[in-house]
């Protein structure tokens, strides 16, 4: 004979509302715990979806070659602390990649230092990148105005602008044919990229903020000292990716005298790296949130204990009119569950608000998964049941006469 759950919850809500301030204070731990977990989880999911989206865009046939060994695991904690074997990519590597049979397109990317000047003065938001002609095809990105470099542009002083760089550098909406100054030379704008979708946490420089010059121009400008920070390559089909990665690795090893001071990465490796960063972040948050929830649970236990003491006469009367120990137990557990559940709902609500703000103010696009919401609900209910059962047992086991006397 249990008091119907609905009645219990209705009663419990009444009690919670009767002590509004106290209830909200008690919920705080739960609110903070739940809102932080939900926020971090949804940011993480958002990033994963963005990264996956990018992989889908550029296709899983894209291969990235970077200097430095073990780039795959750069997401884990060890790689943040332990220095990696460094190395560099050379012009010879560029040629090797280009000549590999199964590689259909390839492009080196090299940073060129120097100040850039246009309508709005010095430009510092982005970098100047010497890029191979196949870049748009490799990253599957279209040019909004003009066109990207071709053979005729080799060693010419032309630039293609990232969408944001274009806005930042020039007054004109479409500054095709306009010029900018770089390393004492005048460069003419040949094309402007469409906006790249943003991928937070990616180690790549932002293409939207970048100013591209032909790779050959970059080499020439720097007296052949500019080295690629990255080589992009593409195979003709997904089936070939694994073998191509192997082939590339082998032939590049020869160039590097057998030292693995570079990495050949597949698109999915990028995702794995991002995932491992996110997993680490999520784990840390779960620990912090766990502490917060624990503190919240203890707070709820204390408040319910106070509530039990204050309501001794009520417990006595309830027992006198026929409430069994179990029914009293359920009533008080329902109260703490209502507290934790309300805390969880407030926490989720706060998290949704934070997500919205993040979407507006940053490149992040948090995604709330129903599994996370379900877990938040279940965890907060469990906290209510576990921490509420101590005071509830105290109430349930109270001798009715002692309770009626208010002892």
């Amino acid at each position: 004979m249990r008091l119907p759950l609905r009645d219990n919850l209705a009663n419990a809500r009444k009690m919670v509302r009767a002590h509004r301030t106290r209830s909200y204070m008690t919920m705080l731990g739960i609110v903070i715990g739940i809102s932080s977990v939900v926020t971090v989880a949804s940011i993480g999911e958002g990033i994963k979806q963005q990264v996956t989206g990018q992989i889908n865009r550029s296709g899983d046939t894209l291969i990235t070659i970077r200097p430095g060994a073990d780039q795959k695991v750069r997401g884990n904690l060890r790689s943040l602390i332990v220095p990696q074997a460094t190395g560099s990519l050379s012009d010879a590597d560029v040629t090797t990649v280009k000549k590999t049979v199964s590689v259909t397109q390839s492009a080196p990317l090299a940073l060129v230092t120097g100040t850039l000047k246009a309508d709005h003065g010095n430009y510092t938001a982005g970098s100047v990148v010497g890029a191979g002609n196949d870049l748009p095809k490799l990253v599957n990105q279209s040019i909004a105005y003009g066109s990207f470099f071709d053979e005729e542009d080799a060693e010419q002083d032309v630039v293609v602008l990232g969408a944001h760089a274009s806005e930042a550098l020039f007054d004109s909406q479409v500054p095709l044919g306009h010029t900018l100054m770089f390393r004492g030379k005048e460069f003419m704008v040949k094309g402007i990229f469409n906006e790249f979708p943003v991928v937070p946490l990616a180690s790549d420089i932002s293409y939207n903020d970048a100013v591209f010059i032909p790779y050959s121009t970059a080499r020439q400008l720097t007296n052949n000292s500019a080295q690629p920070y990255e080589l992009l390559a593409k195979t003709n089909s997904t089936k070939n990716v694994a073998t191509t990665v192997n082939t590339l690795n082998k032939s590049l090893l020869k160039n590097h005298d057998g030292t693995q001071d570079f990495s050949v990465l597949r698109a999915s490796d990028n995702l794995a790296a991002t995932s491992s960063v996110l997993d680490l972040l999520t784990k840390l948050t779960i620990i912090a949130a766990g502490i917060s929830l624990l503190v919240g649970g203890i707070g709820i236990m204390n408040i319910t204990l106070v509530s039990v003491t204050e309501r001794m006469r009520e417990i006595g009367i309830r027992k006198a009119v026929g409430a069994t120990n179990r029914q009293i137990l359920n009533e008080f557990i329902a109260e703490s569950v209502v507290l934790t559940l309300s805390g969880a709902f407030i926490g989720v609500f706060i998290s949704l608000a934070i997500n919205l703000v993040l979407r507006i103010l940053t490149d992040l696009a948090p995604v709330v998964q129903w599994q996370v919401l379900l877990a938040a609900t279940i965890v907060s209910m469990l906290i209510g049941i576990i921490f509420g059962s101590v005071p509830a047992l105290k109430a349930a086991r109270k001798d009715p006469i002692a309770a009626l006397r208010g002892e």
């Binding site: 004979m1 008091l3 119907p4 609905r6 009645d7 009444k14 009690m15 009767a18 006469r313 009520e314 009367i317 309830r318 027992k319 006198a320 009119v321 026929g322 409430a323 069994t324 120990n325 179990r326 029914q327 009715p400 006469i401 009626l404 208010g406």
Partner: protein
């Protein structure tokens, strides 16, 4: 049929030197339909007896049955269910849950019964409230009601389960004469419907409503008389309760007078301090009787 049957029931509180004998081998039979007033100085064990009969407490020794069923050693949950289904309680104070309105308070015992819908519960509570003349204050909170009204709601709550037995421990203890009248009239009406009612009072006037008056002292029943409804019980009328029995000395004096049954003699009785512990010596009753004879 005997609704209540107690045989040599004792209740001890505490242990060692601090042991209190709250009930001392009380034997008592109450038949269905009786309206019993219980009187006696404070601390004599009235509440202990009420709580025992109401299954809120268990006897230390002795046998006890309710409606023919042995209940001296019931498990708490069984006791709770019997309370729920067959007993209605009215206490002196703090009867109502402060956060529930009158209607919800009356419906409270029903919420502990199996699957009765809330609508049905409130409907039942409402009709009972109407019976005690409180239908216009269904949605009042206890704080908004007068003492008499609170007790009326408490009576409604005691009635809502349609119990055989109603136990009221000083239901008028906190009320003025008007409130007392209201409460007693209500109980009286319920009695006419066939319920068995036990109530504790200090006011001899209220024995008018009873069919039987039991006097207690030091955990024992020292007198048990049947009275006609409408008349103050003879012993009560004798005057022992005209003066509020505040101290133990007064209590003793009151009992002494009662022993003599002749009114207004208490002034002559030599007052003697009783031992401070409540431990009853077997000679107390004889002593008081002796003293009374002087």
């Amino acid at each position: 049929m005997a609704v209540i049957e107690l045989k040599d029931v004792s209740k001890l509180y505490g242990f060692g030197d601090a042991t209190t004998l709250a009930l001392d081998e009380v034997s008592l039979t109450i038949e269905e339909g009786e309206f019993v007033a219980i009187m006696g100085p404070s601390g004599c064990g009235k509440s202990t007896l009420m709580n025992m009969i109401g299954l809120l407490d268990r006897p230390t020794h002795g046998n006890f049955s309710l409606g023919g069923r042995k209940v001296s050693r019931l498990k708490p949950n069984r006791a709770a269910k019997i309370r729920r289904d067959t007993i209605g309680f009215i206490f002196q104070s703090f009867n109502l849950l402060p956060r529930l309105n009158a209607l919800e308070n009356v419906a409270l015992p029903l919420t502990y019964r199996t699957n009765m819908s809330q609508t049905k519960r409130l409907k039942m509570a409402s009709s009972i409230l109407e019976r005690v003349g409180m239908q216009e204050r269904e949605y009042f909170m206890p704080g908004q009601l007068s003492g008499g009204q609170v007790q009326s709601v408490a009576i409604a709550r005691a009635l809502v389960n349609n119990p055989k037995l109603i136990i009221a421990d000083e239901p008028t203890g906190n009320l003025d004469s008007q409130g007392s009248r209201l409460v007693m009239e209500l109980l009286s009406e319920i009695h006419k419907m066939g319920n068995t009612i036990l109530f504790v009072t200090h006011n001899p006037e209220l024995t008018r409503y009873a069919t039987r008056v039991i006097y207690m002292h030091d955990g024992q029943i020292i007198q048990d008389e049947k009275t006609a409804i409408g008349q103050v019980a003879a012993t009560a009328r004798s005057g022992m309760y005209n003066v509020a029995t505040m101290t133990e000395e007064d209590d003793l004096a009151g009992v002494s007078v009662m022993m003599k049954t002749k009114p207004h003699k208490e002034t002559k009785i030599p007052r003697k301090r009783k031992p401070t512990t409540k431990k009853r010596s077997p000679t107390t009753k004889q002593n008081s009787a002796k003293r009374a004879k002087k």
